[in-house]
Each structure stands twice: as C-alpha cells, then as structure tokens.
Symmetry: D3
Subunit: 244 residues, 6 copies
C-alpha cells in the first residue's frame, strides 16, 4: 500500500518533520511519501491561509491519483479541503484533526486541544462539532506560538506541556490532542510528562489510513463524494480543469 | 454606500442575472457593482468547484478594498470562503445562503430549500446547521437541473415551483428558499404561485448588507476575523501574498 | 412604507428614546411611528411583566393593521408575543432580541449579551436558543440596573461598557448585543470604546423590517401563522374578540 | 393538600370534564377544585388565543394564593403562562403538556402526540424541546377536530385512536400523549384499544402535583422565579398591579 | 399498591436508610418493601461496580414479579440496568437519578448535582443527557466522600451543603439534586439551609411510581421493552435463564 | 502485539466466525486470539441479554490482563460494558459498533445501519448518539432475522443486501454499517453488490486496536477510567472481587 502524506503548507522543513512522524508508525509493506504543496502559504494560521492552501492540496491529490497512491493524509490541523479532496479519489483521505479527535474519543471520555494561535481556536471547535458528539471536546487552548516558531523555540515543549496540564484540570478532560502538525515531535515527551494519552494527528491519520486500507474501505463515491462534474476553469486556476 | 456583489463563478451571463436581481432591491444613495471572478470554475456544483472558487472570491474582496467598497455580497449558494473573506475587511460580507436562511427564519416557522443538483444537498444542510437553530431547515430538495442550464431551460420555472409545492407539504414548512443564485429570476413568479414567502438569496443578501451599513456595523476585527498574519506565498498563488 | 414600532411597556419616555433610535436608521420614503402600549406594566423585568405586556402589543398590532402599517418592530428585548403578533398580519414583525442576535451572527463568530437584571438572563438564553445555532451566544451578563433607571443613572454607560469588556474576554466573543431597548442610546459610545460591533436591537429591527419590505417578503400565512380562528372572548379581554 | 386546577379557557363545560379527570386520580386528604378563567378565549387554538389566555390564568393563580392553594395544574396542552405563574407562588405549578411528556418518557422510549388542529403542532414541538431530550418526541399528529367539537362529535374516539395507531407505526413510538385537555375522556378507551400507555395530561399533572407536595418540594424562588418586582400597571390590565 | 424499592448494592444498612426515606413519602394504601441485592458490590462507585450491580437488580425485579409488585424503584444514582429491568415487567420502574432530575426540572430552571466521588460525574452527565433537555443540568460537583462513608462521617452534612451553595452560585442554578441514595437523609436539612428545593432521588422515585400507578400507566411493552426473547444462559449466570 | 477479541455471548460457533473475520485483517507481528464468554446468554438481542453479557465480558478482560493482552475487541454490536472494561485496563478496548461507526464517518457523509431484530434499533441509535455527531447516522433498519439464524439461513445475504439498498435510497446515505457481529461474513459480498463502503465492525475494531497500539496510545487512566476502587463483592458475583 502506498500512502501519500500531503503537507498543505509550502514549508519543506515542516514536511520533513511530518514525514518522520508518519514514518514512525508505518507498518511493513507500506510505502509512504510526504509531499509539500507547491503553491500557497508558508504556514496556515488564518481562514485566508487555509482557503489558499486548498488548491495546492487538491493538486497534490490529483498527482497522487496519477502516481497510484492508495490513501492520503492531509497534514494540517485545520483539515483544509477534505470534502473536495474526497471527490477526487476512491482512496481514503484523512485529516489530522479528524484522526486525532477520533482517536481521542476511543481512549477517553473527553479531550482538550492544545493549539498554536488563539485565532485558530474557532476552527478547532468547528472541526470538533463536525467529527465528534457534543461534549467530547471539552476545551481548546492556545499557546500563542506561531506555527513556524514551533521548530526553533526551545521553550515550546515546556509551554505546551504546562498548557496541557492546566487544560486537563480546567476542562475535566482525560486526553490531550496536539492541535498542529508542527507539534508532532512533542508527543512522546508530553505523554511521559502528563500521564495521559497525547494524540498527534499526523501519526493518528497515518495509522487510520492504514487501518482503512486493511479493511479495503475507501471513500464512498455514492452521492456527495462522486467525481465532480467536469467544466471549464479559467484564469490562474485553469490548470485545475478536469476533463473527466 | 458602495456594495460589491461578487459572483464567485466565472460565467459573465450569470453575473448579469445576479446584478439585475441585486439592483432591484438597491436603495437610493447606494452604488452597486457586480463583478465576475477572474479565475476558477464556470459554475459551482461540487466541493471541488467551491474550493477552487475561493481564490477568485478573495481576489475580488482584495480588489474591493482597494476600490473602497463598503460591503460585499458573495453570490453563490454554497457561501464559499466567507470566513476568509471576513478576515480581509471590516466591511460586512454576506453569503446568499446565509442571507436567505436568516430572512426565512424571520418570516416563518420552518423553511425548505429547493436547489439544483442532488449532490449539493449536503452543503445546504451544513450551512443550515451553521446559520440556523435545529429544526428551522426542514428539507433540502434537488430539481436536478445543472446551474448553467437554469438560464436556458424553459421548463425550469414549472419544475422548481412543483418541487417547492411538494416540499411545503412534505416538510410542513411555510417558507421556500431558492438554493442557487441562478434561480433569482424565479422568485416573484414562485411567490405568486405558491402563496408563501419565497426567498432569493441574492436580493436577501443585498438588503442585509444595506441594513448593516445603515446600522454602521461591520465585520468584527476582534479575534478570529482579525487581518491574517502576513507571510510568504509561493507558486501559482504567489499573488495572494499580503504585505500587511 | 409605513413602519410601526411598538413599545410593549407603558412608559412614554422610553417610547421616545426608542423612536429616536429607530428614526436614526430610517431610510428615505419610510414613515415611522412609535406607539406606547395602552395597558400593562411600566417596564418588563419578569415573566409576569412580559406575559401581561402581550395584550397591549396585540392591540397595537391590530390597530396597526387598521392604520395600514407595512411592518412592525416589537421593542422589548424579551420579544413578547411574537408568534401571536405574526398571526395577526402578513406584514413582517421583528423583535429586537431577534434582530440583534441575527445581526450579531452576520458580523462575528460569537456574541455576548449585556442585559439589565440578572433574573432576565434565562429569557435571553431561551431566545438565543430559538434564534441562533448552539455556540453563537457565548454569555449573558447582567449589570443589575433596573430598566427605568437606565435613563437617569449617569453611571450606566461606564458600567455597561465595563461589563461588556469583561464579557468579551470571558466568553471569547467578538460582538456585543445590548439586552434592553433602554440601552439603545449607549450603542455608539460603546462601539467606540470597545472596538467591536455593538448591536442595539431597536435599530437592528428597524433596518431588518425595511430590508424585508424591500424584498417584498412578509410573514408567512401558510400554516402556523395563518389568522387565528375566530371565537368568543369574554370578561376583561372581551375587546380582543375578532370577528374574522 | 389543596390543589387548584385552572382551565385557562373560558368554557365551563370543558372545566367540568377536566375536573372529573383530575378528581379520578386525587388521593385521600387532597382537596381539589377546578376553576374556569374569567377572561379570554373560549378555546385555545392559536398563539393569539394562548397569549390572551395567560392573564386569566395569572388571575386564577393570584386568587389561588389568596385562597391557600398548595399546588396548581394548568389545564391546557399549550402550557400557557407557566414561567409567569411560577413567579407568583412557591407552590408547584405543572402544565398538562409538561406532565404528559414527563410521564411518557418514564414508561417508554419515545412518544407520539395526537392533537387537535394542525396549526398547533409547532407549539407541541416547542414544548417537547423544552421538556424532553432530543428524540423523545417522535411525532406530533393532528386529527383536525376543533377543541370544542371534541365533546360532541361521536366520531372523535375512532378518529383519535386510528390516528394514534398510525402514529405508533410511523414514528416507531411506544407511548401516546393526548394533546388536548378536551381529550382526557378518551384515555382509558384508547389505552385498551392500542395496548400501549396513553397519557392524559390532566391526570398526569394532577398526580405530579401531589407527588411534589408529598416531597415537600415547590417552585424555586431563587433567581428567575423570584416574585416579580412590583411596578405600575395601567389601562385594561391595571388590576394586575401587585403591591408586593 | 405494592412498591418494591431495590438497593442494587449489597450493603444492608444502606437499604435501611433508603427504606426510611421511601417510607416517609408513601401514601395510604401503599405497601412498600425495600430489598438488598444478593450479589455484587458493597457500593457503586465505578462503571465496573455499576455493571456488576445489574444482575442483582434484575434478580430482584424477577423476584418482584413473582411476588406481585406493582412498581419498582432502583435506588442507586447511576440508575443501573433500567432498560433491562423494564423489559421484565409491565410495572413502572423508576431510577432515582431519573426521578430526581425530572422533579428538579418541574420546579426550577436549572439544577446542580452534588455527588460523591469525582469519577462518577461523567455518569451523572450521561444520565442528565438521557433524561433532560440540554441546559437543564448546569453542573455536577463531587464532595469526594465515598458512598459508605456518608453514613458515619459527621462532617458530611456541612461539606455537602457548602458544596451545594457554591454550585448554586457557580452554575446559576436554582435547584439541588443529591447525587447518591446515601445522601437521602440530608435532604430536609439542606433544604432548610439553602432555601432552594433539594431533591432526594429515593423519595422522588417513590412518589413518581405512586403517581404512575395512580394513572394506571406502566412500562410500555410495545417494541423495545417487550419481554426479552428466551434463550439458553450458561455458567455462573445460568440462573438468569428465562423460559418465557 | 497481542489482541484479544471477546465474543460476549456464549455461542462458540459465532466466536469462530468472529475470529475468522478479525484474523483476515490482522497484520504481521500481531497475535490474535478470540475467546467466548463463559457465562450468560447464547445471543444478545435485548437489554436483558446485554446487561447479563457484561459480567462474562469483564471476566474475559480480567483474564486478558493476566495473560498480557495488549488490546481488546468487544465483538457484539451493542458494545456491552465498554466503560466498565476500560476501567480494568490501560490497553485500548474497542466495541464493534463504535469501530464501525467511526470508520463509516471517515469515508462518507452519512451511514445507515442494517441490523437484526427491530427491538435492537433503539440501542443502535443510542450508540450513534454516543459516538457520532448528529446527522451522521441517518437510519437504522432491521431485517428481523435472529442473531443465531444468521449463520444458517441461506436467504440472509439477499435480505440484508436488499434492505441495505433501500436504506441508501431512503436515508440518503453513502455507507452501510452491518449491525451485528454475525453479519461479518457478508461484508465483501455486500460491498460488491452495493457499490458503497460496507463496514463490518469486527474487522473495523480489529484494525482500530492495531492502529492505537501502533500509536502507543491506550485507554486513559486519568479520571473516570481509573481502576475501580476495591471493595467487597458477595453472592454469585463474589468472584468479581478485586483486591487492588
């Protein structure tokens, strides 16, 4: 099985981090490659960034279909473009917020999300409402570290762990969800310090895609996720024209 | 006050129809212009189309800000890119599904949506969940006429009205929402035939933007809709780079 | 177009305030008159007051129908008698809580209500549940100033603004809704001080009624809001008998 | 213990029916009297009727307080004025829709309401949303017999039972709630014919008031249901002035 | 009428307390007996305890049916085995959390639960979601006293009352629900100290069973609560085999 | 990794079927064993059966802990005893309804459940409400074939597939969930015939447990799922006493 992990932002170093974390949970017989979006924002920290990360994601899915990918991970915690991506393929396509929230509800009664900038909390709540029943997500907390600073700031681990510890107490939660692909590297240390399951969405999505492929279950093409009707595309986005 | 109506698809004839319907409800002292997206799909009938209509919409909002627009209508019933658009401006930005659903709940107890292709019903339900309390939207019904066929097919009015009549009975609803900007021209005739309020989102959004401007109330820039943090954009979408 | 604004309490000075705020947002060609209820409580601060404000409201609507009014504003934040009023007319009838909450959701992600007495918070929550999806109303806060003291107490503005500022922080909201018709005069100053949209329901309802009238959309008479079946009324309320 | 059953419409013959059904479930040591509202509509079949039944109900509660009543039943399925009534007393006040829906959820998994006119279904759904968790009320069905015709029409039992039987099948429900005080007399026969619990709200409310009185639990006066602040009342409703 | 109160834990002294509190609200002509489960945990403080209290409860219901009981109270706040018990009988079966929460919503706008161990709060929330509409239960608070210590610890009353007082303020609630059968003895004192209704589920369930019996309404045998299909049972639980 | 699949009913032949379906999706390096409950009902078709299947399940989990199991599948679609089981172990414990519903929401927009007896539909709806957001489960349909007849009845496949096809059309769903462990063998054929993803919970739970183990994420022991407090157990269930 061939799994393609798409980093929807355009920062290569973040793709490398994502790939390492995905590869760590890749089983035998699985080929995994990670690709960086070729167009759009260097990081995704606003609705504007997220909307403009979607074309690059869709291009990566279309390329993946050509290359014979069997499943996809969308490696940004805002899960950009998931519905559109699912129209392009019968393969499973899993977002990392989706994966992390599903995993969290399988091992605890309520989770807290620890994310980057405060302005992204609304998106996390929207996704929780989409993926989980009311009450499962008990809080979304921002450490106010920009996405690209996660890599280099030596205080990140301490600040994220401290924030998570307060979230567990305040929210009465029993699982932590890391709210950014760039936090993937903190997962093991945070688990050890906090004594509760800490879920990194990159790894979670990677194992879920493998799980679905093992089940031989892919995205339903019946109804809403059928291939989009072909039609003219013009201007800058002419390349997204689909003839079939 | 200057209102800009953005048609997020790239079909000029549809913009003309939209403009006519918006202009019909424009008050004295209001300047209205309608613009067609310069990039993306000719019509929006899938999540793929909708995602790829967003860059053109955002470009139109950015241009509108340069041109001194005071308010915006997003004239596609999927309300593409609304959150992102709101980050770009302090002016009100109203989607036509949003406007139609709000108006519907002000004049009745429950509405039915009559839309184009069956595959878009899920999006209409998602928007109803976002804008209205549970129970307000009582049904979403598709006439299975493609968006661009609405203009030329002489049977459209009959089929839409018949579908709406069945929806009122089946759903126990008392208001009809037209689920596509391309249906705007049917509004008066459908109202006359059905004897219930029939809401066209283009007109509804146009009057709501005027209402908000009269109130001197625009999009909140506090928190989630603050201007997006600037950062590098690359590739095809490099033009979306914002320096401020 | 003729819009009648009904103050459902019996305090004339409050009607004058309401009228001034409604008139400030009235467009050209609109005739607006404000009437004071002729029966019932001097202010509405309990379920008892609210229930007993409804007959006066309904009498005002019936009089408005005789006088040829085209639309109605119900100018008390408890939105008393809205369903009953809608049965009496095909014109739009908008409550000020309804209008303010709708407007708030069009310009932000979540609003806080700042109201008068603590005992009215439950009603505000009930109305938020009726008008808006879960999560839109993020808090209801009482300044504990009685309705009729709003006019004369020089500390009102300061207390309301301070409470609103705390509400924005506590609730993570980005819009303020003023929870009493008697606060209408504070709107501009509070907007300036807080830097977020502050919505006064009187003005909001007035512009929404105009918006609906421009759309030529009135209350649906199909089903629940059809005219009430005529029948004998006796005793003190005999005057509410309707022969048609 | 003294229980007062208030018929909020002004039809004496209906009060007699209500009283008989309440008395049938009155325990030893309980004094029960039934009173007819002295003002307002002969029957309650619209929001207008319901709103104008409330003053008579509140007058009856106030009289009950003078007379030393220990608990109240509000005997109309629309549960008019419940919140306002509760402000006037520390005694329990139970509506018949409230009682019937509570009882129904104690003995089955989901109930169907069988009511009179189609236009009242919306009110029944609103009450179900107020009293029961989502999913408990599985359908509201109208037999389209006016309230006051229930007494005299010999086909009523057959039509109500047939409608209830279809409701059980359509809704997948296991309990029937009779949606009008005027249907109280049908309860035993319908139970026998249908083989499922059939709940009459008049009897249900009467036993629930007794249950609460036995518990020595009355309406909470802490917060929202504290006595309403006294203030001037004028005009036709001047008699509702409260000095305390 | 014969009511059987089942203590699903195996501690006789707790049964005695429960019986005393049930008997205090038993009307004339009612025979009440309280039985202790003959198998399982000494107290119920975990999901494990609760699951293993169910067989003893079901055995007690089956014995009750042989003995001619007319109604049942399940006297543990976790309401163990309610659905299963209802399949075994046409008599009403009421859990004490169910009864307390229903009673609480009849006399106030929102209740707080005061319970024993923090780990049981999730169960209380689950039950609130099952029995009451969203918003009725406003908080669940643990005093962290083990169930069997309630009897002997002289500080219990003070700690529970203090916790309840804080809950009323924090939650904005107006009724207290005692979250353990072992707290039944505190009800009168807590009511007196707090000045709000304090509901003990044991008494509440006892009066509700009597209320339903007076209504001649029992558990619906139509559909989900029909008698379970007979089949072989083996091993330790062979005695639960049912031939009918 | 060692995964233990527990069949909570006592029918060995059904365990063999379950084991075969679990083994088909077991990866390299995974040891899987399937055990049959040693006490309780031969099949689970009522709340009574389900409640009495829980002790056997808990005994199997306790045995699994002694034997060093790393993860558990609970192979009955009612997901009996999941909360209690999770208190006994830090390993992941996944129910097959839980797994199937999670998988279904990852590959489609809405699923229909096809189950055995009509009386079990309520349980399926309860589980859907627990695991998935509102709207994900669009229908639960019963083929009215008893659990143990699934193995031998040659018409089963046809009836289940036909029912599923009707469910897709009626519910507007795009995924089918098989609502009984005994239907696991139908999965491949149903997928081929229906052209949509068909999810068997046994396989789904098996891959999800492997996924969680690969993530090194187990059940949270923080809070509600901490080990149950030890205490005396008596009678038939004395063996469930835990000393730690």
């Amino acid at each position: 099985m061939r799994i393609r992990v798409v980093n929807p932002n355009t920062t290569e170093s973040m793709t490398a981090l994502i790939e390492a974390n995905a590869r760590a949970v890749t089983g035998p017989g699985v080929t995994l490659d990670a690709v960086t979006s070729t167009m759009g924002p260097a990081s995704i920290e606003s609705h504007y960034d997220e909307a403009l990360a979607v074309p690059g994601l869709l291009a990566a899915i279309t390329a993946g279909e050509r290359d014979g990918a069997d499943g996809y991970v969308v490696a940004c915690f805002g899960d950009p473009g998931l519905d559109a991506a699912r129209e392009l393929t019968d393969a499973p396509v899993i977002g990392i917020a989706e994966a992390a929230m599903h995993a969290a509800t399988l091992v605890g009664r309520g989770f807290s999300v620890v994310t980057t900038l405060a302005r992204t909390r609304g998106r996390a709540w929207d996704l929780a409402a989409r993926y989980t029943p009311a009450g499962a997500c008990r809080g979304v907390h921002a450490c106010d570290i920009p996405v690209l600073a996660l890599e280099n700031d030596p205080t990140v681990r301490r600040r994220v762990v401290d924030l998570a510890r307060r979230a567990l107490a305040t929210d009465g939660s029993d699982v932590i969800v890391l709210g950014c692909a760039g936090m993937a590297g903190l997962c093991a240390a945070a688990t050890a310090e906090l004594g509760v399951p800490v879920i990194d969405g990159v790894a979670a999505a990677t194992v879920l895609v493998q799980a679905l492929l093992t089940l031989k279950v892919g995205t339903s093409g019946h109804g809403e996720y059928a291939p989009p009707p072909p039609k003219p595309y013009i201007g800058l986005l002419e390349v997204f024209n689909r003839t079939k």
